[in-house]
C-alpha cells in the first residue's frame, strides 16, 4: 500500500500554495511514496526504550537574558523588500481575513 495518496499530495500542494498539474500529482505521489517508505525503514529498528527524537542535539533550556540588543535600522530592514511604502513592507492585498494568534 502506498504511504501517501494522490489526494494527500494534492492537499499538501494546496496548503503550500503550489500549483501542481494532474501529471505532476502522479509523479510526486510516486516519488514521495518512495521517500516515505525509505524513511519508514527507521521504524523497523526502533524499540520501546528509544524515545521519538525531534532534535539532533541532546540539549534543553537554551535561554537568553532579557537584554536589548541593537537591531537593524528601518533602511537596512527594508533594503531587501520587493516594495516599500510609508516605511513598511508593501505586499499584495491579503484575501483571507483570518490572522494567526
Amino acid at each position: 500500500m502506498a504511504a501517501i495518496s494522490r489526494e494527500e499530495v494534492a492537499h499538501l500542494a494546496r496548503l503550500s500554495r503550489l500549483a501542481v498539474t494532474e501529471e505532476e500529482l502522479d509523479t510526486f505521489a510516486g516519488q514521495l511514496d518512495v521517500i516515505l517508505q525509505s524513511v519508514a525503514q527507521v521504524g523497523e529498528v526502533t524499540a520501546a526504550d528509544i524515545p521519538p527524537t525531534s532534535h539532533s542535539v541532546p540539549l534543553t533550556n537554551v535561554l537568553r537574558d532579557d537584554v536589548v540588543v541593537p537591531g537593524l535600522t528601518p533602511q537596512e530592514a527594508l533594503s531587501g523588500a520587493p516594495d516599500v511604502a510609508e516605511q513598511r513592507f508593501r505586499v499584495p492585498r491579503i484575501l483571507d481575513e483570518d490572522v494567526a494568534s
Binding site: 532579557d66 528601518p74 499584495p92 481575513e97 494567526a100
Partner: protein, 499 residues
C-alpha cells in the same frame, strides 16, 4: 439583519449556554521572545526589528528566559501543572503578518496545563477550568490601503510593520464552562476581569485591552437541557471587559433565534462590533486551516526543573482574590459593601488612598460617593475620573484639619476632577477655606444675634434648639465657609448659654 431577537430571559430559560474563553496577553518583557529587539508600544514602523524577527535566512531564535519565567508564573497562579519537558512548534500559514511564513507557537505540549481560576459572580464562587497556558510570538501589524473603505475588503495592497512581530504572547485557554445559565455573560466578564487582575498582580503585562496587550476571543454555544453541547462559534475582536459581556449575550440571542427558526449553527469565527454590540460572520471553520504544526527544529526543548519551578512558586505575590479578602477584613466591610467597592472598580483606588494616610471609611466615602456618582454621570471609569488617591487623601487631610467642611470639600473635589490643581491649591485659589478666624466669626455671630432678637431671646430662655436658625444665618453670611459646630458653640457662648 431585520430578524427580531427573542427576549434574553426567555432564551436562557429554554437553552443552556456553554462558554469558553481564549485570552492572549502580550508579556511586558524588555525584549522580544526570540531576539533582543525592544518591545515598547508605539514607535516608528520597522524600527524594532532584526534578522531573527524578520525571518532572514541564517538567523536563529533563542528563547527569552524572562518570558519563560513569566509564563510559568502565570501557570502557577492559575493552579496549572508545569510541563517537565515541552517543545515549541511551527504553525505554518501564508499571511504576511509573520515574515517567516510561520509563527513559533506551542501545539500539543503547552508549558502549563490543567488548572483553574476561581471568580466571584454575584457573591458566588465559580471555578473556571484552565485547559492550557502556552507561549508564542505576536504577529506584525498590517495596514490595508487602496480601495475606498480602508478595510481589508476592497483594499488593493497591505503595508506591514514588524515592530510587534515576535513580542512574547501568552495564550490562556479555558475549558468549556457549562452550567452558568443566564449568568454566562457576567461569568465571562468576571473571568477576564479576574484574569487581568491576576496578570497585573504578577507584573507580567500591562494588560491594557485598548492597546491590545490583552485580547480576548469568546466561544459560545447553546443546547437544550439534557442534550449534547451545541456547535460553537468563536467571537473575535472583543476589546473591552464590557464587550466580553455584550459579545456573549448577543451571540446567545443570535444563536437562539437561528435555532428557534429550525436552523443550525455554523462553526465559524465571528467578529464583534464595538459600536453596535453585534457579531458578523468571518471565516467558516468547516474549511479550517491545516497549519501543519511540527516541532520547531531551531529551538531546543524546554525542561523547567523542579527547583526552578518551586522557586518561582515561592515568589508568587498574594493573588487578587486573597488580597481583596484581606482588605475587606482590614476595612471592616460586609460582603455586600465589598461587592459595591468591587463593582465600582474602586479596590485599588481605596487601597492607595488608605496607604496615603486616610481612614478606610473616609476613602470609601469619597470614591463610592461623590467620585462614583460623577463617573456614572460622565460614563468614565472611576480610575480615569481625574482625581488620584493622593489627591483624595490630601482632601480628607484638609477636612480632618478643620480647613474644609463637607460641603466645601465637595466643591474642592469638583475642582480636582476639573484639573484645577491639588486640593490645597484649589482651596487657596478659590478662597474656600473654612473661616477659622474667630474674630471674623464672632462678628458674624453678633450680627446674626442683633438681626434676630426674638430667636436670641428664645435661646437665652433655654430653648437651645433654636440656635440652628442663627447658625444657618451665620453660615449664609460666611457663604458656607464656616464650621457649623464652631458657629453653634460660638452662638451659645455669646448668648451666655451652656450647650
Amino acid at each position: 439583519m431585520t430578524t427580531t431577537l427573542p427576549a434574553y430571559d426567555e432564551v436562557v430559560a429554554r437553552y443552556e449556554p456553554v462558554i469558553g474563553l481564549e485570552t492572549h496577553v502580550e508579556l511586558g518583557t524588555n525584549t522580544k521572545m526570540f531576539c533582543g529587539c525592544p518591545t515598547d508600544f508605539g514607535g516608528e514602523p520597522n524600527t524594532r526589528v532584526c534578522p531573527v524577527c524578520l525571518g532572514l535566512p541564517g538567523s536563529l531564535p533563542v528563547a527569552n528566559k524572562a518570558a519563560i519565567e513569566a509564563t510559568i508564573r502565570i501557570g502557577l497562579a492559575l493552579n496549572c501543572s508545569i510541563a517537565q519537558w515541552c517543545r515549541f512548534a511551527r504553525k505554518n500559514y501564508f499571511y504576511p503578518d509573520m515574515p517567516k511564513d510561520f509563527q513559533i507557537s506551542q501545539y500539543d505540549e503547552p508549558l502549563c496545563s490543567d488548572g483553574y481560576l476561581d471568580v466571584e459572580v454575584d457573591g458566588e464562587l465559580v471555578r473556571i477550568g484552565i485547559e492550557r497556558v502556552h507561549l508564542e510570538e505576536d504577529t506584525g501589524k498590517t495596514l490595508h490601503v487602496g480601495g475606498a473603505t480602508g478595510r481589508i475588503h476592497g483594499a488593493t495592497e497591505s503595508l506591514v510593520d514588524y515592530n510587534r512581530a515576535g513580542i512574547p504572547l501568552v495564550e490562556i485557554v479555558t475549558k468549556p464552562v457549562p452550567g452558568t445559565g443566564a449568568l454566562a455573560p457576567e461569568v465571562a466578564k468576571a473571568y477576564v476581569t479576574e484574569l487581568r487582575d491576576v496578570l497585573r498582580s504578577l507584573g507580567v503585562s500591562d494588560v491594557r485591552m485598548e492597546e491590545g496587550s490583552l485580547r480576548c476571543d469568546v466561544n459560545t454555544s447553546l443546547n437544550l437541557p439534557g442534550e449534547e453541547w451545541g456547535t460553537r462559534t468563536e467571537t473575535k475582536n472583543v476589546n473591552s471587559l464590557r464587550s466580553v459581556e455584550r459579545a456573549v449575550r448577543s451571540e446567545i440571542l443570535r444563536q437562539a433565534s437561528v435555532l428557534d427558526a429550525g436552523g443550525r449553527i455554523t462553526q465559524e469565527t465571528r467578529h464583534f462590533h464595538e459600536d453596535t454590540g453585534d457579531t458578523t460572520p468571518g471565516r467558516s471553520k468547516e474549511t479550517a486551516t491545516d497549519y501543519r504544526y511540527f516541532p520547531e527544529p531551531d529551538l531546543v526543548p524546554l525542561a523547567p526543573d523542579t527547583a526552578w519551578v518551586a522557586e518561582l512558586k515561592a515568589a508568587l505575590p498574594e493573588l487578587p482574590r486573597l488580597h481583596r479578602r484581606r482588605l475587606q477584613e482590614q476595612w471592616g466591610l460586609s460582603d455586600l459593601d465589598m461587592q459595591s467597592v468591587l463593582n465600582a472598580g474602586a479596590v485599588e483606588l481605596i487601597e492607595a488612598t488608605v496607604a496615603a494616610g486616610t481612614t478606610p471609611a473616609a476613602a470609601r466615602k469619597w470614591w463610592l460617593g461623590e467620585l462614583s456618582r460623577r463617573a456614572n454621570e460622565t460614563g468614565t471609569e472611576l480610575a480615569d475620573i481625574g482625581a488620584t488617591p493622593a489627591q483624595v487623601a490630601e482632601l480628607q487631610g484638609l477636612v480632618d484639619a478643620g480647613k474644609l467642611n463637607d460641603k466645601l470639600a465637595r466643591t474642592v473635589l469638583e475642582g480636582v476632577v476639573a484639573g484645577e490643581g491639588s486640593p490645597t491649591e484649589i482651596m487657596t485659589n478659590r478662597g474656600l477655606e473654612v473661616v477659622s478666624d474667630t474674630g471674623a466669626l464672632t462678628a458674624a455671630v453678633d450680627e446674626a444675634i442683633a438681626a434676630n432678637p426674638g430667636i436670641a431671646d428664645k435661646i437665652r430662655s433655654g430653648k437651645v434648639a433654636a440656635a440652628g436658625a442663627l447658625v444657618g444665618a451665620v453660615m449664609k453670611a460666611t457663604r458656607g465657609q464656616a464650621d457649623a459646630k464652631t458657629v453653634r458653640d460660638l452662638v451659645l457662648e455669646r448668648l451666655g448659654v451652656q450647650g
